[in-house]
């Protein structure tokens, strides 16, 4: 398994609204790519464009350098934002049906259905109607539908929304395993901490354009330095607010998270902290993904 998804110059307008504006990025094999952006940024339209579910005014979507067609899309897995299963159909039959639509034989679809239902801990619900399942279990069935044909590319729109921690862990592990097996995984989420844990690469879009793209390591280590300083008695971090070139981005549990301009000497920050009280913590930290996101969107 392996491949490269390329989105090149995608443009899509809805009347006066520009949903995608010359959008370009890639999803390499074996990577989990987080696809981030505020509401209305164009994430869902982008994912729909990959599956030919929306018209494009310009641009192409390529798989291994070739424009996408139905044979390629048949080998992809898709989990749309608003989900989509037949409410009155049995879980097992529904998954087998979807597997066969992806080109599997009846026997293979049945075997894969059993495998994935067991893997996602819902094997006992195979004979239940989808509408009888909880939200979390319906989400698991939806994920199984995207996975059971062994996709080369997995596109998931908000797969973690509304899940309990156990569900997030289970689905997160599945995504990592898929990437480990060589699958391209692209998923969108507003849960940035989870994205930071799961993804090796992140693409952030806004107004239909890519504003930041790179590996999580690159993005976390780039930008201004972050200092976390804990001073006894200085819970409001008043001592830091008057320092030139220093911005207090957050004060939590007595620790101040400071953003330092390039010219600021960290020793001067340490001295100011010591003058304010006893310093119990003083450490440089990487940029969080939430900070990358906020700073990218201004």
């Amino acid at each position: 398994m392996g491949g490269l998804l390329e989105l090149v110059g995608l443009r899509r307008t809805f009347g006066s609204l520009t949903a995608l504006d010359d959008l370009s990025f890639t999803v390499p094999a074996g990577h989990v790519v987080g696809f981030l952006g505020p509401n209305g940024a164009g994430k869902t339209t982008t994912m729909r464009a990959i599956f030919g579910l929306t018209d494009l005014d310009a641009g192409t979507v390529r798989w291994n350098g070739v424009p996408l067609g139905q044979p390629e899309r048949r080998r992809f897995g898709y989990m749309p934002e608003e989900r989509g299963l037949y409410p009155g159909m049995l879980v097992g039959e529904q998954l087998e049906y979807l597997g066969r639509l992806h080109g599997m034989s009846g026997a293979d679809a049945a075997a894969a259905t059993r495998t994935w239902l067991e893997r996602l801990d819902i094997a006992e619900r195979a004979q239940s109607k989808v509408e009888a399942l909880s939200h979390g279990n319906q989400q698991r069935v939806q994920l199984a539908a995207a996975l059971l044909h062994g996709p080369e590319l997995l596109v998931l729109d908000e797969p973690l929304a509304g899940l309990d921690p156990a569900g997030v862990d289970a689905i997160g592990q599945v995504l990592l395993d898929q990437a480990g097996a060589g699958c391209c995984v692209l998923f969108s989420s507003h849960q940035l901490d989870l994205v930071e844990d799961l993804c090796e690469q992140v693409t952030i879009i806004d107004h239909g354009r890519v504003v930041v793209s790179g590996t999580v390591d690159e993005l976390a280590s780039s930008g201004p330095r972050r200092l976390v300083v804990r001073v006894e008695g200085g819970r409001a971090a008043a001592w830091a607010r008057s320092l030139p070139g220093v911005t207090v981005s957050e004060v939590a549990a007595g620790a101040a998270r400071l953003v330092l301009d390039d010219a600021v000497d960290s020793d001067r920050v340490l001295r100011a902290a010591m003058q304010a009280g006893r310093v119990t913590e003083f450490s440089f930290q990487r940029r969080r993904l939430s900070e990358v996101f906020r700073e990218a969107l201004g």
Partner: protein, 449 residues
Amino acid sequence: MTAAIVIVVGAVVLALRIWMRGRRRRGQVPSPEGARPPRRGSFGDSFGDVGLVALREIRERVRGRIFRVGTVIILLVVAGAIVIPVIHGGKAGPQEVGVVGPADPALQPLIQQAGARVGTSVRLVPEPSVRAAADALRSGAIDLAVVDGDRVVVNAPVTSDSTSTVATVAQEVAVELGIEHAYREAGLSGSQVAQLAHARPVPVQSLQPSTKGTARTTSVIGLILVFLMLTQYNTWILMGVMQEKASRVVEVLLATVRPIQLLGGKVLGIGLVAMGQAAIIVVFALVLAKAVGSDLLHGTAPLVLASELVWLFLGYAFYCWVYAAAGSMAERQDQVQTLALPLSLPIIVGYVLALTTAATGNPSVLFEVLAYLPPTAPFAMPVLVGLGDVAWWQFGASVLISIAGTVAMALVAAGVYRRAVLRSGQQVRVRELFSRPAAKRRGTAGVPG
């Protein structure tokens, strides 16, 4: 008709065999996890996807309670339509005819022959007076009375349109008595009158079988069934497409199959269920009619029945696309209802006019025109066949027009479906769908996100 039944039954059997094979294969030993699934060829892809969608529709519909209960109800109605006339015909007892006045040996054979001529037996009951006969008529003890050999008295008025047994016997007896009087006034002897009374009409040979009334009855029953089935299956299509859109499953499906494959599979699957149900009803009707000795399927009636089947097929083929396109434009029950009413108007108009025409037996010019228009031909043309008012080439021309209309409708519907089924939110309007150029690929309009 036999050929049509064989084709329909064959299609259903083939579909079931494919389905059963699929079930057997699912029961085989599974392949190891991670093994790449075998891929079909490009032709297999296209045909296979439509077939898979169709098989799902067949399985879900046949499994549903609505189908099973509906089929049983239709079979009961058909059974009633076949059996009740037979039972009713068998129970028609002899007509009691009161006779007032002096005994006349020529009167009895005359009245009995009149009864025989309208297909019923007659028993004469002497009545002492006109008053007694009137009382017997009112009480129902006798059905009609002949007074002094020159008057016929009945309880309820008899007109030329009356079709009851009493009325027809009374009219026949009246005619016979009138003739008998005329003979006597002409000076014929009693034996001559008796001889003339035994006169039988020479046979009238027609080029077509003489069961027009039976064929008309069969066409009415067929009309009702075509109306019920078209309404039912159109509703399935409408609701099925709407529900796929509302549940968003269509987005998952269209990520792997083309819109025309999904739509084609749906109309094919529901169509096979429709034809299968029609085949069950026809076979049931044939067997039952044979068993009870019904004449509903004698003469030209089988031809009418075959025509009904042809037009059920053509009617479904035309309307399924209309309703599928409509379903793709709605995603809520109230939206569906606003769409369903205007769509059902041509069906209702065609059905009502067809029933009226079948009853009167006099097709209007408008009705004959409707028999060539695809939306109303499924109702109008079988009635014309039942009335014997249509030549084979006229039937063929209507079929060809209907097929052409269906192809045109399928193209329009596929375009509407492709553009509308992924649009969520408000009900989609047709002019919105065609306000921008068609998709460059197979894509459909979506919403920003």
